[in-house]
Amino acid sequence: MADPSAPVRVRPNAAPVPAGLTRTALGQRLTAVWPELVGGPAPEAGDGELLVSLVAQVAGDGRQDTLWLLWTAVAAAMPTAGELLSAHRLLAACSVDRAALGMLGLCLGDAAARGHADRTIELVVGEVLVDVDKTARSRLHTGIARVVRNLLPRWADRAAVRPVVWAPGTALHRTLTPAENERVLRWDGRPTYGAQPDLETADWHLVVPWKSVVVLPEVPLPSACQRLVALAASGSSTVTAIGYDAIPVLNADLLPPLEPYRFVQYLSLVKHLTHVAAISGSAAEEFGGFVDMLGAQGLPGPTVSSCPLATELAGAVMVDLDAAAPPSSGVPSVLCVGSLEPRKNQVALMHAAERLWREGLSFELVLVAGGGWGGESLRQVKDLTRRGRPLRVLQAVTDQGLREAYAEARFTAFPSLHEGFGLPIAESLALGIPVLTTGYGSTAELAADGGAVLVDPRDDDALTDAMRALLTDDTLLARLREQIRARPVRTWDAYADEAWQQLVAPWLPGGVL
């Protein structure tokens, strides 16, 4: 615990402090923003004088963006929309001296609660910040983490791209520690869990964007969203995002309540964004539909584009069917990759499999599930296992193990009820394995270039019929494999380029490419 009576300690400065001056952290922060708010270098004056001058400047111009920057510098925390409004009303109603005191009062509570009043800031002007908070902190290789770990190394070569995460207290961004940088820029694929970096000893500092482009390739936590709203709405920087899906508000019956709760907080931020690059045409419709709602509250909302994810799988080699080893089980294998949860619809798949097993078909069903919470599907797994059905559930599978499961599969089945993209379909097709999947939404888009059989995942009979055909009709399978070979491959390089064109290039000051 910090001793409140101890003198404020100044941490190592990120931005250079004018030579010959000893400044408190507050003084450094005010000095850092002075050139942007007033112009020219900050005068050699005490903190109080600097603050009053800056308040006078910001009160005079009546702008939201400059007020946002002043608040952030004083509080060492980005304001929420409500805080920014309070400060705006304070400056409009009071004399400069009283407003300066009031600003201190409003800000210091936040600064004390969030614990960064003793830190200096680096002001980042006209650059690109990418918020990679979850991917940098965790070794989980979720769908979103895959996108970030493929995107950031490709963007890193471009001028002035800075990955950032949230500083403790979730009120301001900071730079990454070396370990975090590794996880984002040089992902090694090891599914081990490294020790969390020690922020007390690691080298990092606070970062404040100004007239920059802030890109959100993840879905931020609700507490972060509150701060990002004011950043975006005040016009201090341009904020853009990758849009994955709106599943939590469209399929709430298939999810725990925490997910829609988090997601509506995210939507409160989305309405103030400048642009959303959705990961499929279907996801673009979801975000576009949300934007359509915003006229009712007088907001334009972001522009929305479709920027489909890559279908390329690094190091993928198409399975050579003539030379392929027979499955270890000796019977054809049907593979389903996805966490066990109602939305992924494994219950329907297992039902269809049971019908076909009862018909006398011989095949194995392999579920690769990285986790999940579907009680119904677990019950069914137990029931089928008790009946002695050839059903295998693989958990915590390595990348290598997953490749082997694909290589053994006759086809993969992915009858999900709703997807933003459908990564397992792209994986399967990249490895040359035909797919049985859902005939609407993003999965239908992915399948449009061939190699897949489409069904209505809510129709058990149709699903059973399609599985039967794929298990018994070798001509159908050969045709699908032929189609897969003719499919165009979308590379991560192409995705990264297009995402840059949509999320960054148009909004960079001066149109820098």
Partner: protein, 539 residues
């Protein structure tokens, strides 16, 4: 029980042949015994429920229980995919008296496919409680009727905008169409029941009457209407299955999408609850939005459904009515004395109606008022509205203004006559809300001829432009709100012009509105009257 004992019991259970492996004749016998052999009350009730299902499916009702079960088993065996799920829904709902949710329909349909109709029926009957003395309520399958779900309105004396709409609209429907069946949900929120007389009276805002007997209903090829919100997952999950499988037409009155489109202004639980209701609404046939702006929100949501493989309901907009309740002079005088903001009661009155939640933007109203008071403008501000989510900062600010001597009054609630009198007394009403499905205070103020300052977009703009009388501002810009209020207070010619416009606005009545909504929601699907197959058939 010890671990080994539990394991050996589990082994013993596994040794018993699964139900699906028993011969059909044995299962059929077990099913018949399950109906006939466990007491008179159970027998009578279940035989009537079997008859109700068969009648609803236009099938002759045999006399013996075994024959009834056989007839039902035959129907189940013959059904293909969609018909199978619908039948499973109907049979489950009627036999158990509890509406199944979608996972239950799927589970039972799959059992039906894998193990046959007798196994399905055996499981269904076996799961029924048979506590001694358990009550076996009558369950009616209602076909060809229009059911209006007023569950929440029947249980509350609240008079928020939503309850007001639900009450007034349904009252009109009941007046012109006595066959309409008003329903609510059972105490376990797992089934529909006809509202007994006492709840019906409360739902319609009529004088209280004595309670009555409970009757559970299962709609089949009927019309289901929901003129209020539904937020409990227990209900929305069951409603979803009902809308998917009951072969009924369904329509909702669609209020706003605020919990999705402005989550920052609502309590934390509202987003998930509202999203739960949307999973059911996605299967409705039609919604009647309360304004064009609300209709735009629902159409946006409908576009969002693309990735779910659903088209969603047709979205129509029917704007709410603006019928004023003219206060008499005595009430107006009483209001003048009660609601004055200064000692003499001579200051021009600025009225602000709405709960003190962030969405209503009352902070901007206080900021504008304080700026104008500082300039020396003379007026009193009367805020009518209860405390709500996150109202503390607003109330603290208002109390600080009062302490500094500003003529500001806060009233948490007013009776309808006094509220209408307040509208009439006011020089103007201010309502610079961030987001509204309709913006009732705007319509109400204009209906009595009092000008309004309100937001220049969405439903508020829509109401303003439907005949004039309002000054539109940008609610996110304090200066715009302040300038607008100053003009309404000081520019008499402008104020007079707005009064003139407000007084000549067209009047739309509740009967007009209710009829229009009925045409949208029920339309040509309307039939002659209810046909309750359950109670009519022999037991």
């Amino acid at each position: 029980m010890t671990g080994p004992a539990r394991r050996s019991l589990a082994r013993a259970r596994n040794a018993v042949p699964a139900v699906g492996e028993l011969p059909v004749s044995a299962l059929a016998r077990l099913c018949t015994v399950s109906v006939d052999g466990r007491g008179r009350h159970r027998r009578t009730a279940l035989r009537a429920r079997l008859a109700a299902v068969l009648s609803a499916l236009d099938t002759p009702v045999p006399t013996s229980t075994g024959d009834r079960l056989s007839a039902l088993a035959q129907l189940l065996a013959d059904a293909d995919q969609q018909a199978r799920q619908d039948l499973v829904w109907l049979v489950t709902a009627t036999i158990t008296g509890r509406l199944p949710d979608r996972p239950a329909v799927l589970r039972r349909s799959r059992q039906l496919v894998l193990d046959g109709p007798w196994s399905f029926l055996h499981t269904l009957l076996g799961r029924l409680v048979h506590r001694p003395g358990a009550s076996w309520p009558q369950i009616g399958v209602v076909t060809g009727a229009v059911l209006v779900d007023l569950h929440h309105t029947a249980r509350t004396d609240l008079a928020t905008g939503i309850q007001r709409v639900a009450r007034r609209t349904t009252a009109e429907w009941v007046r012109s169409r006595p066959d309409v069946v008003l329903v609510g949900w059972t105490s376990r929120l797992d089934g529909l029941r006809v509202l007994p007389p006492d709840e019906r009276a409360r739902a319609l805002g009529e004088p209280a009457v004595a309670a009555g007997r409970e009757e559970i209903v299962v709609p089949w090829r009927s019309t289901y209407l929901l003129p209020e919100l539904m937020t409990e997952r227990a209900r929305t999950d069951r409603l979803q299955a009902l809308l998917r499988h009951s072969r009924s037409r369904s329509g909702l009155i669609a209020f706003d999408m605020v919990p999705i489109s402005s989550a920052e202004t609502t309590a934390d639980g509202m987003g998930p609850a509202f999203a739960g209701m949307l999973t059911a609404a996605a299967h409705a046939d039609v919604v009647a939005a309360i304004s064009q702006a609300a209709g735009d929100e629902w159409r946006g949501w409908r576009r969002m459904l693309t990735g779910t493989g659903l088209t969603g309901p047709e979205v129509a907009a029917v704007s709410l009515p603006t019928e004023a309740l003219a206060p008499d002079d005595a009430t107006t005088e009483q209001a003048r004395l009660m609601l004055k903001t200064d000692e003499q009661g001579t200051l021009p009155l600025v009225l602000c109606v709405g709960s003190h939640e962030p969405r209503k933007n009352h902070g901007a109203v206080l900021a504008a008022a304080e700026t104008l008071w500082s300039e020396g403008q003379r007026f009193g501000l009367l805020m009518v509205g209860g405390n709500a989510w996150h109202s503390e900062p607003l109330v603290a600010e208002a109390e600080a203004l009062q302490a500094s001597g500003r003529p500001l009054s806060l009233v948490s609630a007013l009776s309808d006559p006094l509220l209408w009198a307040a509208y009439r007394l006011a020089r103007c009403t201010v309502f610079p809300s961030y987001a509204e499905g309709f913006g009732l205070p705007v319509a109400e103020s204009l209906a009595v001829g009092t000008p309004v300052l309100t937001s220049g977009y969405g439903s508020m703009r829509e109401i303003a432009e439907d005949g004039g009388g309002a000054l539109l501002v940008d609610p996110r810009d304090d200066a715009s709100v302040t300038d607008g209020l100053r003009r309404l207070l000081t520019d008499d010619a402008f104020h007079d012009e707005l009064v003139r416009q407000a007084r000549s606005r067209p009047v739309r009545t509740w009967p007009d509105y209710a009829e229009h909504v009925w045409q949208v929601l029920v339309g040509s699907a309307e039939t002659s009257g209810p046909d309750r197959s359950g109670p009519k058939t022999p037991g």
